[in-house]
Symmetry: C2
Subunit: 142 residues, 2 copies
């Protein structure tokens, strides 16, 4: 079983679970996100998937990305004005945005920290998700 097969299966499964079909467009979009995990925009995804599916439209890329987000296969990320970015990393993680280069990196979060952060919420606030964005510069070892 290749990683690719595995991805296809998990994609097909999750789509089926939501009563949706597995289409070539949805596959190439999802594969593009898994292949280069640099938090691309819809436009960037469009450019990449055209290599595989030259006739795919930008509207379809938006549709597929939205579908993947609905199926919890992909996270939509917004940390500044500008195009939404997409991330296939399902593990709880924060994002580091390098202001100099514009690059975005995943930062793993220890599970303990998340509950510690939730502790700052006063009673009456019930969070089901936390987004953490670091902004700064990266140096040397990357």
């Amino acid at each position: 079983m290749t990683p690719n097969t595995l991805n296809s299966e998990s994609l097909a499964q999750k789509l089926a679970h939501s009563g949706l079909r597995n289409t070539p467009q949805r596959e190439v979009v999802y594969t593009a996100l898994l292949t280069k995990r640099d938090h691309p925009t819809a436009d960037e995804v469009h450019a990449r998937v055209r290599a595989d599916l030259p006739t795919i439209s930008l509207a379809t890329v938006y549709n597929c990305l939205e579908t993947l987000v609905q199926c919890d296969l992909v996270r939509a990320v917004n940390f500044e004005r500008g195009p939404t970015r997409y991330c296939p990393n399902l593990a709880p993680h924060a994002h580091f945005h390098d202001e100099a280069t514009g690059a975005t990196f995943d930062i793993d979060l220890p599970t303990g920290l998340i509950s510690k952060i939730k502790d700052v919420l006063p009673p009456g606030y019930d969070a089901d998700a936390i987004d953490i964005i670091f902004r700064g510069k990266t140096t040397a070892t990357r």
Copy 2:
């Protein structure tokens, strides 16, 4: 010394510090943010300040907000696609976004927690700001 005078002074000071003038437009925009701290959009600010300055344009509201952000009197907040929101709370704080109502609340952050969060950054990542957004529902006591 009224709070209003105090605000005007700190505004005038910070503007002067950046070599900028204190204009009626900048004052009403800043005052609007301080008066109702509900993280309004530029459009909402525009609607509010028109009561004081009926001829102010939306472009000017955008200009003033940008100026206030540059002067570190106001934070621009983006946690989802949609208009940028503005926050005059200068203390380190997180945001709680109520998905049901769309309302955004400030959540104070103990200083210790911030450095604890920064500890998760691997070497080579140097963050000069952290944004934390909670998403969920608020109940009862608000």
